[in-house]
Amino acid sequence: MEVSVIRAGMQTTVQDLGRRGHLAEGVPVGGAADPFALRIANLLVGNAEDSTALEVTLIGPELEFREAAWIAVCGARFEGVPAWRPLRIEAGGRIRFGRRLQGCRAYLSISGGFDVEPVMGGRGTLLSAGVGGFHGRALRDGDVLRSVSSQRHLSGHWSIDERVLPHYSTEPTVRVIPGAHAAEFGEELYSSRFGVTAKSSRMGLRLEGPRLVRRSGADLVSTAVSPGTIQVPPDGNPIVLIADAQTLGGYPRIAHVAAVDIPLLAQLAPGDGVRFSRTTVGEAHALARTEGRRIALLHQGLAEKIHPE
């Protein structure tokens, strides 16, 4: 089935849940910046949770569907686009993302998933290297995507229980595990609000707030870093790495965001703010288990509503 891109939007890319096993080659994890929203968007249309979906950023696209399909949009909210529930699109129908209402990134899934070749075990777009997804790049006006044909029957009118969603906010507090160089900094990370600047991208959120001053001047040697790592360059403005983070970093690592709170970061737009609170690795794992159980329950509930035709 073909999906025509009438207007591409600001940065619309094909994403999935990322790549494993290639960090040592310098290949980022990548995938959806908000993996939670992508998983739910896929489950809502009967796909496996790691299927491909479109990641929409700040300004959404306008798409035309050649044939009838089920789609779902999760994550950021846009005018004219109902979120967190399956939507039936008729043959020749369009979906137009209006003004952004809340959040930064939305995920548009389609029953069957978008048909792109896997590269290094992932189907997501790695913009920095121009590989994966749709020709290694963001969508442009006039592109035509293919989706894997699949017929599904969805019953009734419903949307998912908002209580299973992350606590999305324009001013969230995210939980962090102290990093190797935490003791070389003061308490400002935990006592202040940090603003998200326009220089943020899929690689990282560049924050501004009180300058974080490192007490040690010792030279650091580059080490592995990962999505969630908070680095502090010499200018004292922290960078929180997200999906397309470089695999190595040489700046002090003040803390690491718990995996379950990364979706909250992915939904921050320039001008929004963030605060940090301390947690432990054990607590972060417990939170991840709870989230996993919530998604499994949701999956079970959906199985009663979605049937192959």
Binding site: H22, I177, S226, A284
Partner: protein, 229 residues
Amino acid sequence: MKLEPLGDSAVIATLGSGIDAATFASVLSFADAILASKRAGITDVVPAYETVAAFYDPAFFTETPGDAYGEVCRFLESCAERARFAPPASGARVVEIPVCYGGEFGPDLGRLAELCGVRAEEAVALHAGADYLVHAIGFTPGFPYLGGLPDALRTPRRDTPRAHVPAGSVAIGGSQTGVYPVDSPGGWQIIGRTPMVLFRPMERPAALLRPGDRVRFKAVSAPEFASWK
């Protein structure tokens, strides 16, 4: 060996301090021991200079409920123990990389030579005359951080990074040298370009080089560059 959490999905092991041959040898053998174990739930192993990071999925470490981190640490300690008794790795691979130095391919060669107080030809001879060791792969897919740059060629990074460095560019940053495998921004001094492809996403492995490889550069002319296969 010091073990610390790198967030909730990796443990980082520090095996020494600074960039010395003994530390780096133990980094490589430790990383090999982790990979050789094929332990389910270890998703990535990233050696770099003095550290090895092991990325894990906590759902695979449930022997002690609520302490996946401790279990990963105990697993890594057992790998370190095995690595200690492993025979030293047989001779490292040596990869020769052809480079067309200067001209349009190496716009910073003249300035770099000036900063180092040598003629451009001497800078090329020094760069192509040294043996390098891949200490880490990162920055962009397949980018090798190479140690072994002659002291005479140490040059600070550019004040303003370039927004676009073409794939194949060979560059010097501080006491290191490297090759940009894909088009990317970059702040190092660009002294030449290789026709060799260092990153092929559809091949396994995708990166030409891996930590522990030895690298030598070989100066080639522009016609040799153009006809290189």
